[in-house]
Symmetry: C2
Subunit: 199 residues, 2 copies
């Protein structure tokens, strides 16, 4: 994933045709992913369905994982807003431990609800997903909560916790091992709580 224009410093303004195509692509991708499953849809398919050249697709979204990430963007933003400025226990106001618990539940639910698309967004090669803006945000959020709770090595533990919430891992628990979302959530919440305590 390369930098999206949206993210650079001074808003460079999106050209009209660019906007038009961005929307066409997102609509087509959502529709196709939904209808045929993320895995079996090729970038050519998306380009064709959107009535757009392949180059356009790649210039804007970088690669297939970037396209998936863009599709997730809106819902992801909702979760981010809830956690940064929403009501407790997810938002500020509750004790760190409870906020962490709420976050694990909410994030897990988010991943579970969009398993395939999240999985695709996490396939960026060479660990690019770990350098993603949104990943950084989740990690930092967890690290701050852990630090607040007096946990040692909050940064490492934040990364470790997120690693356990990877789409691939969640899919394994949910589908290969047939765990219910509720049980899995409870188990992971318990573990997060345990990991919050000092060694």
């Amino acid at each position: 994933m390369t930098e999206l224009p949206l993210l650079s410093g001074g808003a460079p303004k999106e050209r009209a045709d660019a906007t038009r195509n961005r929307l066409k692509v997102l609509a087509a991708a959502e529709q196709l992913f939904d209808a045929r499953g993320v895995a079996t849809v090729s970038m050519d398919d998306v380009a064709a369905a959107a009535g757009v050249g392949k180059g356009t697709l790649y210039r804007r979204f970088g690669d297939k994982s970037g396209l998936a990430a863009a599709l997730l963007d809106e819902r992801e933003s909702q979760l981010q807003a809830a956690m940064l400025t929403g009501p407790p226990p997810l938002g500020p106001g509750a004790p760190a431990g409870e906020r962490l618990t709420a976050f694990v539940g909410a994030y897990l639910a988010f991943v579970d609800a969009h398993l395939d698309v999240v999985a695709m967004s996490q396939t960026a090669s060479s660990g690019a997903r770990l350098r993603t803006g949104s990943h950084r945000l989740w990690r930092q959020h967890i690290a701050i909560l852990l630090a607040e709770a007096g946990t040692p090595d909050p940064d490492v533990r934040a990364g470790a916790l997120l690693a356990a919430l990877t789409a691939e891992q969640v899919r394994h628990w949910r589908h290969d091992e047939d765990r219910s979302l509720a049980d899995l959530t409870e188990a992971l919440v318990r573990m997060a709580r345990a990991a919050t305590g000092p060694p």
Copy 2:
């Protein structure tokens, strides 16, 4: 990754030419990976260097991640033997907590020492790595130790712990965040200890 003949029930005996080619391929792959880095070596390269057809490569190793896994096999087996029948604290004889600590250190060292090859072996699509024989073994080992220590949800926590020790994650900590192996080991050992305690 599909089943390797090696793993099936009754030994179906490997044909002489098959052995010959297997060794040629492994030698060529090791040499190429070593010289040019795993990422930039194509399967055609390996086939050509080994003096073998591409079909042979794929029939035997399934895909690129399978080839990487085969290369790791020997060292992986050493670690497995040490942990199953070797001297404490890695092997049996020490208390579960200490064995877990030793395992985290040893496994992390293993991943770190072969980062690129392990990373490649873990790229199997659709979470195939989680269904791998060796992954199952690591997971079961951890789960047993955790259960022995009275930890709740030992299976989930074992999976979570291994998720944190993924090559991609370790590479991020080691290279992107420049952590020393020693510090990282300590932090993860502390976390494993914390996660061993009840909620």
